[in-house]
Amino acid sequence: MNKWLMIIDIEKCENCNNCFLACKDEHYQNDWKPYTLSQPLHGHRWMNILTREQGEFPYISVTYLPKPCFHCEDAACVRNTSKKEIYQRSDGIVVVDPEKARGKRNLVKACPQGAIWWNEENQTPQKCTLCAHLLDDGWKAPRCVQACPTGALTFKSLPEEELFSFIKANDLESFHKVMRGRSIVMYKNLSLYRKCFIAGSVATRKNGVEECVEGVTVELFKNGSLVDQKITDSFGEYRFSGLPEKRGKYQIRVIYQHKVTDEFDIELVESCFAKVSWI
C-alpha cells in the first residue's frame, strides 16, 4: 500500500501564502462530504503559516513554518477520541467525520498541535484533510502543494516500505519530538526555524579609514571544545547558525594571520549580533 508524503522545506518558504489561500479557495463554500464540510470565510487556518524573526537590525533572519495537520502516525487526536469521530484511513490520512463530530466542540482539544478548528456555522470541528477528496479523485497533489511556487511544498506517494529510507536519505524530520512515530507531513531544514545564530563582524582601521576584514578565522567554543569555525566574508561578517537557544555560554576567538586578535565570552539566549571586533 502506498503512503502519501508531504514535504515542507523551510529554506524555500517565503510566506507568499499561496498554500493558505489555495486551501481556502478549495474549501470555502464547497462541501466535500464525507471528507469535510465547507470552511468558513474567516478564521480557520488549516494551513497555518508561522513566522520566526530572529536577531536584531540589521543582523536578522526570518523563516516561515507552514503548519497543516500532520496526519500523524498513531495520531493523538484519534487516540483521544473514543467514538470514531476522528479516524485514520489506511493510507494514513486522518479525517474528522463531519457527521459523527457534529456539535462536539471539545474535539478541538483532541489535537495537541492546535490543528483542529471549530466551525461555528455548521457546528463541526474541522481541519486539513490532505485534500483527500481530490487525491481519491486522481489528483497528484493537494491544492496547497499545487499552488506553491517555490518548491517549498512537494508531495509524493511512496510504497510503505520505501518511506523510511526516503525520509532518512532526505534528512526529513517530523515537527514534534514527543509525537510518536512519523507523520505524513515532514520537514526539511527545520533547524532554520528552530535553531538560532550568533553573528559578528571583523573590521580594522587603515590610514584613518575603516575597512571590513575578509578571510579572518573565527572559532566558536563551548566548554573549551570547538563547536564551529567560520571565515569572514567580504563584509567581514561571520554567522554561526544551527545553535540551540537558551543554552549557555560560548567563547569566540578571532584569529587573523595566525594570531588571536580578539577573544570574548557570549551568553546565548536568543539569536544575536555579538560585536564588531576591531583588529
Binding site: 517565503e14 501564502n17 474567516h42 499552488a147 511556487p149 518548491g151 579609514v209 575597512e211 567580504s234
Partner: protein, 856 residues
Amino acid sequence: KDGVKKYTNNTNGGPVFVYVKEGRIIRITPIEFDDNDAPPWQINARGKTFTPPRRGTVNPYVLALKSLIYSPDRLLYPMKRIDFDPDGERNCQNRGISGYERISWDEALDIVSKEIQRMKRDYGPGSIMNGSGSHHTWGNLGYWLSTRNRFMNSIGYCPVVHNPDSWEGWYWGAMHHWGNSMRNGASDTYGTVEDCLKECEMIVFWSSDPESTSGVYGAFEGTVRRQWAKELGIEMVHIDPYYNHTAALLGGKWIAPRPDTGNAMSLAIAYVWITEDLYDKEYVALRTTGFEKWRDYILGLEDGIEKTPEWQEKETEVPAREIRALARKWGTRKTYLSPGGLAGFGGACRSATGIEWARSMVCLMAMQGLGKPGINMGGLQQGTPVDTHFFFPGYAEGGLSGDLDGTSLRVNLYQRMPQLPSMNTVAQMIPRLRIPEVFLNGSCEGYPTDPKTIEGQFKKFKYPAPGYSPVKMYYKYGGSHFGTMPESNRYVKAYQSDNLEFVVNQSIWFEGESKFADVILPACTNFERWDIGETANSGGYSHHQFTQWNHRIITMQHKCIEPLGESKSDYQIFLEIAKRLDLGAPFSEGSSELEWCRRLFNASDLPKVISWQQFMKKGYYVVPAPDESLRAPVSYRWFAEGRKKDLPELSPLPSDYTEKWKSGLQTQSGKLEFESSSLKRFAPDDPERPTISKYIPSWEGHGCKDLVEKYPLQMISPHPRYSFHTMFDAKDGFMNDVKDHRILKKGHYYWIVRINPLDAAARNIRQHDLVEIFNDRGSVICAAQLTHRLPPGVVHSCEGSARYEPVGEPGNSADKGGCINLLTPGKSIIKRSHSSAPNSCLVQIRLWKNEMSEGK
C-alpha cells in the same frame, strides 16, 4: 465530470483554470500543462542544465479571486446617491456622506446619457473628464485602454493623463542618459536570463523585491530562476531599508540605507571605483561621453566635497567600510544590477531623490561596461528565451479602441485588425496628480508622459486649455485613487466641491472612491464576460514584457459564469449609453464581445498554429520556445561591442538615431551620456535636475530639521505584496486573513504599519496595537507590526488600501481603512515634471486610544 466544467481565464497574476458547477465558480487553480503542450527551453550554464517547470505560477491574490468575485462589496445594482437629484438639488457637499438607493439600469443610463448631452450643450467640449486606474481585470478586449478609450473618444472627453508613476526617476532622469524612451527610461532586458546564469558573479538588488512585486504581472516565474542563481553560487546583495522578501528567500548581504538617500550611496561607490581604478576605462572612453565632468564632481573638484564612503555614511547611515567593501566586490566581479523589481522600477525612484538615484544607476553600469558578458541590468525577472516573434497583442496595443493616438494600436495591431478609428477631439488634459486642483483651484499644469522620444516630456501643458470649458462632470472608472494617489485627502475634498456637478462611477467593487459618486454603474469581472489575453503581455511602453514568463501562455478567457446581480460588462454598459446617443453602431461595429475576441484571435499569429474551435475548447496555447539559434540577443551587447542594434524591437524610432539607423543610443551623441545633452538643451541650469547626476538632499527627508522635530519617522510605502494596489484588498475576501496583510482587531481588519521595536518602545507601542500615523496632511489608523526588518527611524506601510473609512468628517479626519497615501506629499519630485514622491514622507506615530477623537 459531476457537472463540473473546467474553463480558462487570465489575470495580471497568471493564467488560470476555473472550475464551475451549477453556474458557480468552485475553484480557481494555476494552469498545469498536458503532454500536448510545447516543451520548455533549456539553458546550459556552468555545467548544469536548467529548464522551467511545465506550468504557470500565480500570485497569492489570484487564489483569493473566488472570494472577491462573490464579495459582499460587489456592486450588483445601479445606484443613485439618495440626496442627488439631477433635475433639482445635487448636494455635492454630501458626497461620501449620504447613502445610496437602488435604481433601474434604464434610470441610471438615462441620467448618465442626459448629463453627457447637457455638459456638451451647456458648457461645450472639455467639460467631461474621465480617468481610470492604471490596471484592470485582464484581457485585450475589456482593458481600459480598449473598450473605455473607444467609448470616451466617441463622446469627446478631457482625459486624465497618468504620470509615469511606475518609472518616475527613470522617465524624468535616467532617460536623459541612455534614451530608452519607449520603455519610459527603463531598461530592455533581452537574453539576460541566459547571460546572467552563464556569466554573472553577483547580483545587486537595489530597491528591488521581485518576490513581492513579481516585476509586474510576472507571478512567481522569476523565483525558480533566482533559485538556480543561488544554486550556482551567484552572490547576492540587497540594498533596501526593508529586509524584503527577496532578501529573506535568497539570502546574501543586506544593506539598509536610510530611505531617499540612494544617490549618496551610488556616488560613494563611484568614488571608490575612480580612486581605486576599478572601472572599465576602455568602455568609458569608447562608449560614453561626459565622464570627466561627473568624475570631477564626485572627487569634489566642483563643490569641494569628496563623495567618499564616509560622506555617504552621514546620509545613508550605512557604515563606510561596508560601502567600500561593496564597491570593491562590484568593481571586481561581473555584476548584474537589479534596480527595482523590474529593471527600471523601484520604490527609490518614487522619492524626492528618485530622479538622481535612477540616473546614477545607469551611470554606475556605464562605468562597469553595461552589455559585456555577465554585466547587465536585471534580477532574472525578465529576459527568458521565449519566442519574441510570435505575435499576440498586448493590452497597450489598444484592443478594439480604434485609438491610434492614445494606444500603440498603430504599431502592430491596426494593420492586422482593421477597425473604425476613434479619436478624441478634445485637446484639454488633466494631470492625474492634479485632479483635485481642477475643482479646488480651477487651474493646474503638468508635463506629459510621452514615450515616443526623449523630448516628449518637455512640453508643459495647462488646464484650462485655451477655449475649452472647465470640467463639470467626472466619469470615473474604478475607485482606487484614495489608496494610490499622493496626499489623497485632496481628492476627498475635491469630490465635495460644487464645481463638480456630476460624478458617475463605473466599478466592480465598492472601493474607497466609488462611495463619492452620484450614480454608480456596476461592472462585472472578467470571469463574467468574454475576453482573450496573455499574462504580462502589455505591449506599448512595456514592450515584450512577457519575457518575465517562462512560457508564453495565451488564453481564451471564457465567460465562466453569468454576471452577478444586475452587473454588466464594461463593454455592455458603454454600448447602452452609446445607443442612447445614437452611437451604437460606431461604438460596437455590430460585433458582440465574443466576435471581437475572434477578431483579435484572427489578428494574432494563433490561427497559424491552432484553430478557433480548438482554442475555444482547450482554452490556452503555449507558444513553443524558439530554437537556441533564434533566441533574442543580449541587451546592450551590440552597444558594448560597437555593432548595430540587433534586438527584436523598433526602438528608438528611426528619426531618433543621430548617425545611422541602429547605430548608437537614442541620445544626441548616440553614446551613454554621463552629462546629458537633452537636459543641456532643455534646462541646463535647473538646480533640481542638473545635467549630471548629483546628490540633492530630499525636500522631505532626514535633513529637514524643523519637520523632523515634529515628524521624526521616515515612512516608505511600497506596493502591497498580497494585493495589486486596491484591487484584491479587503472586500471581505480571503486576503483579510493573511497575517502579513491586515490584522483583525475588535472586529475590524486594520492595515499594517511596520516599525522597529526601539521606535515602538519609545512610544509604548506593542505588537498589533492600534496606532495613529499622522502629519500635517492627514492621519491613518493602522495595526503596528514590530520588526527588526527596518532600521530605527523608518516605518513601512504599503500603498493600496481599497477602503477609506474616515472616523469623522471625510477629508478631515483619521482613516481606519488604511489609505496611507493620505499622508504622502502631493508635490512633484521636481517642478519640471508630473511626478510623485510617496517615499519621501515624514510622519509621527502614537498609540490610538479614542476611536471617536478627531485626527488631524
